[in-house]
């Protein structure tokens, strides 16, 4: 089959690789219907050291079950399923607590010996725990929105939930990427009344307004902080969702958060140390969030996607075939595409 490999910064290739086969009785094989490129894929795409051997990439996909191992129940060939962006047994203590990203028997797509999502098919470890069956056909118009359940929508939701977003909440979302926009959507869905979206790409912030943003702040850094405080009577908001991952975004988050509030971050941190000294302490600001246990949220979010209450699939603004994946990376890195959908 064909699959995507990354060999270094700027070097993504679609190549022929061995067809996946069942290894473990807990595996399933899934033919990929839709995959996509993630903002977090752009980190290795921007900085990975060149490597002789490429490594498989892609962690968001939705497809059709083709075969299941002997210990997999509840799934059958022909089922349309979505995979969360880490695989997990869904039965260990961490999974039962909703922290599938720390599953005792889980792991990541594209790790050694594991397929990535940007390919024609995937061997899914811990298939029964990992995959969620979708009550739609292979040609459903909902596939783009359903695909966001593998990462960006639950990630935005995780940001909002971790920071305690509830009815009537005032929220600032930092970042107008797909995750930031999904965080707006998730915060609105959870009942937030005031949602400040910090971002400067007008076509993205426009979608953010459709998703529920009440204010858009285009300024960045200290200017952005001043503006956000200005429109919130000087106090900032008690909930801040940091959806970028840079130190600057985190600093902005701490600048914007109201005393006693929480900064929730879901963008992979591109820093080792951050500004958590006396200022944060004296204002009783919390830092929460982390890599989103998407699997924990799919059942909760699915009904609203199925009935069209939310349309997170609107974050996809370009659709390509598998062979065009290298172009897709370029487009996202150049910010000419917000999020790229792949039809293998």
């Amino acid at each position: 089959m064909r699959a995507t490999l990354i060999y270094g910064a700027g070097d993504v290739r679609v190549e022929h690789v061995p067809d996946p086969a069942l290894h473990e009785p807990t595996d399933a094989l899934v033919r990929v219907l839709r995959s996509c490129i993630c903002g977090s894929d752009l980190w290795p795409y921007g900085s990975m050291e060149p490597a002789e051997d490429g490594r498989r990439i892609g962690h968001e996909f939705l497809g059709v079950v083709e075969e299941t191992g002997s210990e997999v129940s509840g799934l059958a060939p022909g089922d349309v399923v979505v995979a969360p962006f880490v695989w997990a047994d869904n039965t260990c203590d961490f999974c039962r607590e909703g922290l599938h990203t720390s599953c005792r028997h889980g792991g990541g797509w594209g790790a050694r010996g594991v397929d990535g999502g940007q390919g024609e098919a995937v061997r899914v470890p811990q298939a029964q725990g990992t995959l969620v069956k979708l009550p739609v056909g292979e040609d459903s118009a909902l596939l783009p929105s359903l695909l966001t359940l593998s990462d960006v929508f639950p990630t935005g939701h995780h940001a909002a939930v971790s920071a305690g977003t509830g009815l009537g909440a005032s929220v600032t979302v930092i970042g107008d990427g797909a995750v930031g926009l999904c965080a707006v959507l998730a915060a609105r869905r959870l009942g937030a009344e005031r949602i400040l979206l910090m971002g400067r790409h007008t076509e993205r912030t426009g979608l953010g307004r459709d998703f529920g943003a009440t204010d858009v702040i285009a300024e960045r850094g200290e200017e952005g902080v001043s503006r956000a405080r200005e429109v919130t009577s000087g106090d900032g908001t008690p909930v801040v969702l940091e959806c970028v991952g840079t130190k600057q975004a985190l600093e902005t988050a701490f600048g914007v958060v109201r005393d006693g509030g929480a900064v929730s971050r879901v963008g992979v941190p591109q820093y080792l140390d951050g500004p958590i000294g006396p200022s944060m302490f004296l204002r009783n600001v919390s830092l929460t969030g982390g890599v989103a246990p998407a699997r924990a949220y799919i059942e909760e979010l699915l009904p609203d996607v199925l009935d069209g209450t939310v349309e997170p699939g609107r974050v996809f603004d370009r659709t390509i075939g598998l062979d065009e994946v290298p172009d897709g990376y370029r487009a996202m890195a150049d910010r000419t595409a917000l999020k790229v959908l792949v039809r293998p």
Copy 2:
């Protein structure tokens, strides 16, 4: 009157200062019955640049109301009262949310124009909001425990509450100072079942056991982390209360916390940046806590102190007169005293 001033590292003096008088109609005058020296007083005692003019110090006291301003109601001369370690109006939006440390009309003891607690008397701004009346006489044997309501006991409680300590919780407390020991007591009071206390002063950890610690870990740094994980099946505890304030203590806290758990800190951070990179993120660890809004907790904690259910006053292991305050600082800095009670 006599009061304590700090002139620089190692230089604390008891001097004659003007008697306090009412300035604002919201003030009260309080004659100090008991005061004490705080672990956080040791930071300036250890590092303050020498200054020509000393500044007043001390933020924990309990006393008798001598006079009240025209706008103070509910308090009368002769009332025994305790003051939390910041003054606050108890009516603004932050105070109503229980965040008195961010009060819109509050401030700190010993700030310019405000008395410190380590003296014979104090002008209390926002007296009606700040002071809490105690149903005891001036000679009550409970005064030491009641005095802890001004800081260390609510601070330990704040650590425990912020991290979500509840019935059956497993908790690690880092630090065997007065705040660490009060955090043990608070965690136990909130229903924690397993309490690991990390500290190496056996007479302090002994009191920690009396307060509810089930395990004592004397090792520090990486060794301490290994030991704490060893006794918790490798996972660490979901709740970690960091009661020191150094970067090493924070690193230990992150090392000991279970995936998905929270580190709550209440020791004033002696660092500007901290280790909040990918490791914390990928494990969904939160950082919470901050300077404790003691005022918010006094009513809740008071009954258990009055009926002897808890005896936080046991953290005091030395009692001195006001003139001996410089010796008290030395004793706490040398760790020959845990916490020093002052009878002016």
